[in-house]
């Protein structure tokens, strides 16, 4: 038997090789930073006219939670974002794959993608409202576009960047084009797609709030717009903080998904 028994360096067990667990210290530092930020804010609110301090914003937040308006607005906003984002991603991934895999599809689709990519989805809001009314459709549509544009380019780039040697390696083992696509191209482009999804989610979220500033009946953007006409500055802050916290939470969720799905990648 030709078994080589030289002791080679054993790879660390999987658990240890995962992303190193954050030690306690960064968390402590993060909390300290948060406390400093709140203090600066509190001090600034004493000096700047009309700027509410953390306490009054927290009180307002408590009221909005108690009367249910914060939850309603948040749910309305989340529903729009998820609908638009889910549709955008679901449509973008197959189209990106098509573009990456078939030169014909690429030639036909790429001009449109490249052109519409340069137009911020927000710039389409006035047109969307004129064409689709002031209901949910134009809002979901612009969010859809925002998610679609980031994701389609990522999926396309993911397919184009698949290592040729991997494709050749599969081919010499007897893989058909279809097998190569399913078994090699799809997994190899997953990291790209997940990055595109994260960018798309950020873009969707940004687009949502702006879309709600125009002609909405509920939602966090609508709440801010209304509060500004009534000069309820703490309400604006509550809505802003909610938007930030939710955006961060969604990003972290996708990051977690990315780590789980693409943990096989070699980090350099």
């Amino acid at each position: 038997m030709a078994v080589i028994t030289t002791p080679e360096k054993k790879p660390a067990p999987a658990a240890e090789r995962r992303v190193p667990r954050r030690a306690g210290r960064p968390l402590v530092l993060n909390l300290i930073a948060l406390a400093i930020g709140l203090t600066v804010w509190a001090l600034a609110s004493l000096g700047v006219e009309n700027l509410p301090g953390p306490v009054s914003v927290a009180e307002r937040g408590g009221e909005m939670i108690a009367d249910g308006s914060l939850l309603d607005d948040t749910l309305a906003s989340l529903r729009r974002v998820f609908t638009g984002f889910a549709l955008g991603t679901v449509v973008a991934v197959p189209i990106g794959f098509l573009m990456g895999w078939y030169p014909l599809a690429r030639g036909l689709i790429e001009p449109f993608v490249q052109f519409f990519r340069t137009i911020p989805p927000l710039a389409l809001i006035p047109l969307a409202i004129v064409l689709m009314g002031i209901g949910e459709t134009p809002k979901v549509f612009v969010i859809f576009l925002a998610a679609f544009m980031s994701c389609v380019v990522a999926a396309f780039q993911g397919v184009v960047d698949v290592d040729r040697t991997l494709i050749n390696a599969a081919r010499v083992l007897g893989a058909s084009d279809r097998t190569i696509f399913v078994k090699i191209v799809v997994p190899a482009s997953t990291p790209f797609i997940l990055v595109g999804m994260r960018i798309g989610l950020g873009a969707s979220w940004a687009t949502l709030v702006a879309a709600e500033l125009v002609g909405a009946q509920e939602g966090l953007g609508f709440r801010m717009q209304k509060a500004s006409t009534w000069y309820e500055i703490p309400t604006i802050f509550v809505a802003l903080i909610t938007i930030g916290v939710l955006g961060l939470a969604m990003d972290r969720l996708l990051l977690l998904a990315e780590r789980r799905l693409t943990g096989w990648q070699e980090r350099r």
């Binding site: 790879p11 999987a14 097998t179």
Partner: protein
């Protein structure tokens, strides 16, 4: 002896801006069944192109490549290929990499497992069957790639500078291991390298190629017995053949112009 792989007057040109680059210029070469042939030459001599043609990944511009007398029309599991860059599927464990070709051959799970285990044991990766490629060293990655090729039991092994990226120690180990399995299972091996020592140590015949245009410069018989051992590696006979090959590689008649 029966001819396994036959390059017949093969020409390969790649189109360039105004002209075309001649990678291979009328190359003819026969490789016998169960023979171990190494191809050595300067970069740009087309040695990798030669292998890719036998693999069916590149089509010749003129001439033809025959395997078992039939023209090569594309890649197939009868010819295992080992790439310099390992080309492991990084999202699959060692075992799943090795089973990849077996799944394509639609083998039942039990048979797949048996053959995968055999191939993994053969290259000494038994303890790492469930590890992902990213946790393996370069030498272990290449062993995994070799196991993946062995598993489908090809009659021909095509190896494109497989040990080029490894440290000297791993290289020697893998050379010996490769020769061991070759002697046991007697496949036809076409092995591309730029390392003269490696070319002589492994082969029964060394093909020295010249560059610009890529062509066969000399073919040298290596008249050393198998199994090749350390003794042979350090022997005077080995050194003599090695020197001869060295001269053929480094003192080619028509010195290539600076690229």
């Amino acid at each position: 002896m029966k001819t396994k792989i036959s390059f017949q007057d093969v020409v390969k040109t790649f189109p360039m801006k105004d002209t075309s680059f001649v990678a291979l210029d009328h190359v003819s070469l026969d490789i016998a069944d169960r023979e171990f042939v190494t191809v050595v030459g300067p970069s740009g001599c087309g040695k990798s192109t030669l292998m890719s043609m036998a693999a069916g990944l590149v089509a010749p511009t003129e001439g033809q490549v025959l395997v078992d007398g039939a023209p090569v029309t594309g890649p197939g599991p009868d010819r295992g290929v080992i790439f310099q860059q390992y080309a492991l599927f990084p999202w699959l464990t060692v075992r799943h990499n090795v089973e990849f070709g077996l799944k394509l051959a639609a083998l039942p799970a039990a048979e797949r497992k048996r053959r995968a285990d055999h191939a993994i044991d053969l290259v000494g990766l038994g303890d790492f069957a469930d590890a992902l490629p990213k946790t393996l060293s370069g030498g272990m990655k290449q062993r995994c790639a070799i196991a993946r090729a062995y598993a489908v039991n090809p009659q021909v092994l095509l190896m494109d500078e497989p040990f080029g990226a490894l440290d000297a120690l791993s290289r020697v180990q893998l050379q010996d291991q490769l020769l061991d399995t070759w002697r046991q299972e007697q496949r036809t091996v076409l092995f591309i390298t730029h390392d003269v020592d490696e070319a002589v140590y492994l082969a029964s015949r060394v093909v020295v190629m010249a560059a610009r245009p890529g062509r066969v410069h000399r073919v040298l018989e290596v008249d050393l017995p198998y199994p090749r051992t350390e003794e042979i590696r350090l022997s005077a006979e080995f050194r003599q053949i090695r020197n001869e090959v060295w001269h053929a590689v480094y003192h080619q008649p028509q010195a290539a112009p600076a690229a």
